[in-house]
Every structure is written in structure tokens, then in C-alpha cells.
């Protein structure tokens, strides 16, 4: 004990992971919501097992379905996060979810300046029903949102690829597509791997380009 403990933070720098999950009515078809619940739950469990030697991985889940978007799982360390399965119903207010994500990323109380570059993951199986263009522009224009490492997964046959690609806004990245539970799980395993590699890296602020999984390979 040097005495400096009184003046310094006692936890490693946070690495926030924010998931925007589509819980509209269509997600209740073909077991999609169950598969998504399982995949996110497994991701949080895996992230919780990572020793917080260098970074404390934190998770938040924002859901959009029905009349509104909701902060389903408030931002907290993965080790302490309580995962409650999501229910699917109603429309797809993705724009409202992006607004919540932008507010969260820009909130310096929730995500202090010492945090590592946040990760934002968008998962959807359809076209948004609200204005998503304006909130997405705001996210991309925001100081911190523009720097976030973004991932996108389209579920099913008509996942609204234009929206998901616009969300990524990065020609070096691609929207991945999942048709079944196993592919969804593989996507989240890939996100988990990207996050954990960063959290153990000598420079956790640098985004590591981990090759995306070939989800289609699972079909055969």
C-alpha cells in the first residue's frame, strides 16, 4: 500500500459492449427469440469468465420491439450482469434503440473517459418501423459513437440489410447473416472473441480485425 489508493480508481478500465437486440413480433417465429436469448446469455457468461486483468468488460442490452425501445440490461460488468431472457412482440422501433445507445455512449458518467473504445452490436430480422436514419446519423456524428467498434447481424430471410450496412458505415466490415440458432451463436462467439482479444491486448483501444466466421458453412 503506497497511499495512492485513496486517489485512484480501484478497477481496471472498462470495455463496454452494447447490444441492440430486435425483439419485434417476427422474432417470436421459428424460435428466433429463443436462439437470440441463448446466444446473448452464453456471450455474457463467457465474458464474465474473462479475468479483469487489463480491462473490465461491461455489457448492456437495449431491446426494440412493440411500441418502444428499452434498456433491458443496464451497463454493468459482465461478471455482475443479470441476464433476463427477452420477450418478442410488436413493431421494430430500431431508431429509438439507436437513440438510447447514442445517449449511453455519450454519457460520461456511465462510460467514463478512461474507458476503452466501446463495441456496439446491432441484431435485427426486419425493417425498422420508425425513423432510423436520423438517430443513425446522430450516432455516426457523435464524438464517441463514431469511434465505436460496430458489428451487425441480420437474422432470417429479410433482415433489412441496407439499414444494417448503414449502421456499420465501414466498407471493411460486413453484415453477417444467420438463419438458425447455431449461426446466431457463432456470430456472438465471434463478437466475444473480438472483445476478449482486445481486452487482453497491449493496446485495447485498437480494434482487432478478427476474420468473421463463415456462418453459411454451418448449413452443410
Amino acid at each position: 500500500m503506497s497511499g495512492l489508493e485513496e486517489f485512484t480508481v480501484a478497477t481496471p478500465r472498462p470495455l463496454p459492449v452494447i447490444i441492440l437486440a430486435d425483439v419485434s413480433g417476427s422474432m417470436s417465429e421459428d424460435g428466433k427469440i429463443d436462439a437470440l436469448n441463448y446466444a446473448i446469455g452464453e456471450m455474457i457468461k463467457s465474458l464474465a469468465l474473462e479475468a479483469p486483468d487489463r480491462a473490465e468488460i461491461q455489457v448492456a442490452v437495449i431491446t426494440f420491439g412493440g411500441p418502444r425501445a428499452t434498456l433491458h440490461t443496464p451497463l454493468a460488468s459482465a461478471a455482475s450482469a443479470t441476464w433476463t431472457p427477452m420477450q418478442a412482440s410488436g413493431l421494430t422501433p430500431m431508431g429509438a434503440a439507436i437513440e438510447i445507445a447514442t445517449r449511453l455512449v455519450e454519457d460520461r458518467q456511465a462510460i467514463p473517459s478512461r474507458s476503452y473504445r466501446p463495441v456496439i452490436v446491432l441484431v435485427s430480422d426486419g425493417q425498422p418501423n420508425d425513423d432510423w436514419v436520423t438517430p443513425l446519423r446522430a450516432l455516426h456524428a457523435s464524438t464517441r459513437g463514431s469511434k465505436a467498434d460496430r458489428f451487425a447481424l441480420g437474422i432470417g430471410s429479410d433482415p433489412g440489410l441496407t439499414t444494417l450496412n448503414t449502421f456499420l458505415a465501414d466498407p471493411s466490415k460486413q453484415v453477417l447473416r444467420a438463419d438458425d440458432a447455431r449461426q446466431m451463436q457463432r456470430f456472438f462467439q465471434w463478437v466475444t472473441m473480438s472483445v476478449t482479444i482486445r481486452s487482453k491486448s497491449a493496446t485495447p483501444d485498437s480494434v482487432v480485425a478478427t476474420p468473421p466466421p463463415d456462418l453459411a458453412a454451418d448449413l452443410f
Binding site: 500500500m1 503506497s2 497511499g3 495512492l4 489508493e5 485513496e6 486517489f7 485512484t8 480508481v9 480501484a10 478497477t11 481496471p12 478500465r13 479483469p52 486483468d53 487489463r54 480491462a55 473490465e56 473517459s113 478512461r114 474507458s115 476503452y116 473504445r117 464524438t143 464517441r144 469511434k147 497491449a202 493496446t203 483501444d205 485498437s206
Partner: protein, 248 residues
């Protein structure tokens, strides 16, 4: 209201240290931070610099930045316009590179110059902490804000934007109550902001009256035994204050 007045027994104290973080110690890489302090007849100066990780010669860049700042301070008039300081240091640093590509030596630079007149200039370019603590301020602490500095991105002395991203603020410390604290991001990222004023008081109590060698070694030990878990960056800190003022 009682005031502190500088007397003949007043003295400016400077303490600082710079250590390689665990990341560089493990690989045997050089510390990319640097610091310096100097005492001249017209005043005293402390500087810290943090070489930008992506720059090939970051360690050299930060050392040269400190050297350039001290060289500029040594020639300054106490009434200098703060804007001139950024230009002069950038120019001096560029000349020290002898034609090499500045981006390969990119570094932040934070400074505190105190003249014997009581004029105190504090600021710099890039991330890290520049703060002045004094009982005269609300909350006893003024953290000076500069552009940029999140998620590993920072402005540097080599920025193509010239000196636009420099900020230097001026204080009157004739009463000798101000403590200037500079820290690179390896330190500042882990400090509890509401406790900074208390920390400067703690450091003052710990090091005032000690020899330069003892102070440097003590400060170095504090940085090596940094308490925040997962803190891997190089660390530099420097503090300057004046003591010996009398209450009247």
C-alpha cells in the same frame, strides 16, 4: 481575509518521475513517456510528454519535446504571450528532429511554467492531465480541458493542425497557493477527479523538504507500485508548488 505573501524564504518545489509501464517493461521496450524540471533565475518549469504509441520513434519524440520546452522556457520573458509558447516549442522541437518526419516522433506535451513574478502558465497539447489546485478555487481544483483524448486518440505536437489544439492558461500565483500537477494518461486515466486536490496536498506533504534525489526516487516508487489493476501504460507525473509564503 488572510493572504499568503511570498517572502525571501519562499521556495519553489518540483517533483516528478517517469516509468515504463508493465507492457513495455515486459517486452524490454523503452519508456515512451518523459519528464523534466528546471530552475532558472526567472522561474521554474516542469514538463511531461507521452510519445504516441503508433509513432515509430515515440520515446525519442517525447524526450525531445521535453527538451524543446525547457529550452524555450530558458529564453522566455516573464511577460510572454502564451500563444507564442506553443509556436516556439513546436518550432524548437521540429528543428531538433533535423529533417526527420515529425509524425514518427509524435508526442503529447504538458507544461507548467512559473515565473518569479508569480505568473503561472499551465497547459499543452494532447491527452493527460493538466490541473492547478489552490484553496482559492471552488472545489480547490481547476482541471484544464484540451481537445481530444479518448479511446486512444490524441492530438500531438506533430499534428498537421499546427498549434490549434494547444491550450495554455494563465494564473496569478503571487500569493503562492497554487500547485500545478501534470500527468500523462497512464496516470490520469486512473485518478479520481474529485480527489485530485487532496492528492496534490498529499504529495506536497510527502515531498516538501526532501532533496531532489529523494523526491524523484519516492515519486518513482509510487508510479512503479501503481495501485489500479490492469494499468499497463507508461506513467509520468510532475508537480510544482511554492512554499514559504506567510499568512498576513
Amino acid at each position: 481575509m488572510p493572504q499568503r505573501i511570498a517572502t525571501n524564504r519562499s521556495r519553489t518545489w518540483m517533483v516528478g518521475a517517469s516509468v515504463a509501464g508493465p507492457r513495455h517493461r515486459r517486452t524490454g521496450a523503452r519508456n515512451q513517456d518523459a519528464w523534466q524540471a528546471v530552475r532558472r533565475t526567472h522561474g521554474t518549469a516542469i514538463v511531461v510528454a507521452d510519445g504516441v504509441g503508433s509513432a515509430r520513434f515515440a520515446a525519442e519524440g517525447s524526450r525531445l519535446a521535453c527538451k524543446a520546452a525547457i529550452a524555450v522556457f530558458s529564453q522566455l520573458r516573464p511577460c510572454v504571450d502564451p500563444k507564442e509558447i506553443a509556436h516556439s516549442i513546436s518550432k524548437e522541437w521540429s528543428e531538433m528532429l533535423r529533417g526527420e518526419e515529425p509524425a514518427e516522433f509524435a508526442t503529447t506535451l504538458l507544461l507548467a511554467f512559473r515565473f518569479t513574478t508569480g505568473r503561472l502558465l499551465v497547459g499543452g497539447v494532447g491527452d493527460g492531465l493538466t490541473t492547478v489546485c489552490s484553496p482559492e478555487f471552488p472545489d480547490h481544483c481547476r482541471v484544464l480541458v484540451r481537445p481530444g483524448g479518448e479511446f486512444g486518440e490524441t492530438f500531438s505536437i506533430s499534428s498537421r493542425t499546427g498549434t490549434r489544439n494547444w491550450r495554455i492558461e494563465e494564473f496569478n500565483d503571487e500569493a503562492c497557493t497554487h500547485r500545478a500537477l501534470l500527468a500523462t494518461d497512464g496516470v490520469s486515466n486512473d485518478l479520481l477527479e474529485p480527489r485530485i486536490a487532496a492528492m496534490t496536498e498529499w504529495l506536497r506533504n510527502r515531498f516538501e523538504g526532501s532533496s531532489s534525489r529523494t523526491s524523484r526516487s519516492g515519486m518513482r516508487n509510487l508510479l512503479v507500485k501503481w495501485p489500479t489493476p490492469g494499468s499497463i501504460d507508461d506513467k509520468s507525473i510532475a508537480m510544482m508548488w511554492r512554499s514559504g509564503g506567510e499568512i498576513s
